[in-house]
């Protein structure tokens, strides 16, 4: 029994999520592979989106995987850093825009 929740050695074991549901896992992995192929967006652009989302959802496995993948797709550290800022801006903006809800609640009961 691990005494912590995240373990880097678990990353290569991702496929084990299919152990009790192999058909569902196959559907997921096939779809996942198709999502990241060159299309209307390039594979590099999709990798940078994935890197940004990985930070937004704070998934250490995904940050590990897509930091390497973005480099291997031809991105550089400047572009990857900007992608992380995009994620941070959306997270920060999402909090701030809820300030309007705060105002909607507070204004009617204020003087």
């Amino acid at each position: 029994m691990a005494d912590h929740y995240y373990n880097a050695d678990d990353l290569p074991r991702f496929g084990e999520i299919g152990n009790n549901a192999p058909e569902l896992a196959k559907k997921f992995f096939d779809w996942y592979g198709a999502v990241f192929a060159d299309g209307a967006l390039s594979a590099r652009e999709k990798s940078l989106i994935a890197l940004a989302v990985a930070h937004a959802v704070q998934c250490p496995y995904c940050i590990d995987a897509y930091s390497r993948d973005a480099l291997e797709k031809g991105a550089d550290l400047d572009q990857m850093t900007e992608a992380v800022h995009v994620a941070a801006a959306i997270r920060g903006g999402a909090s701030l825009v809820h300030g309007l809800q705060m105002r909607n609640q507070a204004t009617p009961i204020g003087m």
């Binding site: 990353l11 074991r13 991702f14 992995f29 198709a34 993948d69 797709k73 031809g74 550089d76």
Partner: protein, 369 residues
């Protein structure tokens, strides 16, 4: 950061023997011979000689951190005019179509222009592997026009279309000089797609990972270099860094060596083996000795003793069918999309599918297939 050649530092890793020992000690899961055999090549053999690749010396104006040649301003090994004449004599006896001139910075060899003129006079296609910045050094400013005059194809190194990665690998200020050199090549007619003067850019990873898929990136590189600098080029090659000389040193010092080499082994792609460059190329060292490729040359792995080993004894028929001398470094040419002097070897749909799954956070082998 100032980088000196391994030779200038008298580093033990300057010795090819020491490099081969480092590679031999790694706990890899299979040999390259076994991998090649699994792809139907037992042993791996040359199929023809379409290209004579001539390394005219280790002298270079740069000292890049990843250089497999250990080239630099301090190196004095350069090909003599007599050895170049032996190359010309060999060429004249064959129908080899392409002469691929590399270094170091080949342009710094004092007989470089003499050699290019005579190869072109033989009616052979000339490729110059250019680091770009050399075109901004004294005495080289007119080289773009010289190249254009002889129809030389320029294959130029540029790790990234932006400055950060380029300067990290090749030295501060290299990106700006490289862009200036590309503009001079454009001015001489290179890269416009219609002049017949072909300008190719070569990107390689700035770290311990595999190169990008070149077909996917070429359009983006063209768009961005035009947008940022008004620079044009014809094609993009993506090549894998080889665990030799200074890149091997960097892998060791950064703690990446074992993982990088196993990555190359795990990414072995059987469909690339038939297209590896050693099957259609022979490499000539600065002293005239023959090798299966420039990487074997730097590891001092000469062609098999069953064939002539010096350009003066060149026998095209014997050499065209020679067994290739292989080693662990050869996994660098067969990993992922494969790698050669012409970039990726393989872009078939089955490979793209495998590469997609490789991006997943750790999809196991049975699902990858």
């Amino acid at each position: 950061m100032k980088v000196l050649s391994l030779a200038a530092r008298r580093d033990p890793l300057a010795s090819p023997d020491a490099q081969r020992e480092v590679l031999a000690r790694l706990p890899l899961s299979r040999t390259f011979a076994d991998a090649a055999a699994s792809a139907g090549h037992t042993p791996l053999r040359a199929a023809s000689i379409d290209t004579l690749q001539v390394n005219v010396g280790k002298l270079c104006n740069q000292t890049c951190r990843h250089c497999h040649v250990d080239a630099g301003p301090d190196r004095r090994e350069v090909m003599s005019r007599e050895t170049m004449q032996l190359c010309l004599d060999a060429l004249a006896r064959t129908d080899i179509r392409t002469v691929d001139i590399t270094g170091g910075a080949p342009e710094l060899n004092p007989y470089f222009r003499w050699f290019v003129e005579r190869v072109a006079a033989l009616g052979r296609h000339v490729i110059d592997r250019c680091n770009l910045t050399v075109l901004t050094t004294p005495g080289c400013a007119d080289l773009p026009d010289f190249f254009a005059c002889h129809g030389v194809e320029v294959v130029a190194s540029l790790p990234h279309y932006r400055a950060t990665s380029t300067d990290a690998q090749r030295g501060d200020g290299v990106y700006a000089k490289s862009i200036a050199a590309l503009k001079r090549l454009n001015d001489a007619g290179y890269g416009d797609g219609t002049s017949g003067l072909r300008l190719v850019l070569v990107t390689n990873p700035v770290g311990a990972y595999l190169p990008p898929p070149q077909a996917s990136l070429e359009a983006e590189w063209k768009r961005e270099l035009m947008r940022l600098h008004g620079v044009r080029f014809d094609a993009l090659y993506a090549i894998t860094n080889m665990p030799i000389s200074r890149y091997l040193e960097w892998l060791q010092q950064s703690g990446n060596l074992d993982r990088y080499m196993q990555r190359l082994v795990d990414a072995f792609n059987p469909s690339t083996v038939g297209s590896v460059m050693c099957r259609t190329l022979i490499s000539v060292g600065w002293d005239g000795r023959l090798y299966d490729c420039d990487f074997n040359q730097m590891l001092d792995l000469e062609v098999t003793a069953r064939v002539p080993r010096h350009i003066r004894d060149f026998e095209p028929a014997t050499l065209a069918n020679r067994p290739i001398v292989t080693g662990r470094h050869c996994f660098g040419c067969t990993a992922g999309a494969g790698s050669s002097c012409g970039g990726n070897l393989d872009d078939v749909p089955s490979l793209r599918s495998r590469e997609r799954h490789r991006c997943l956070p750790g999809v196991p082998r049975d699902i990858r297939r």
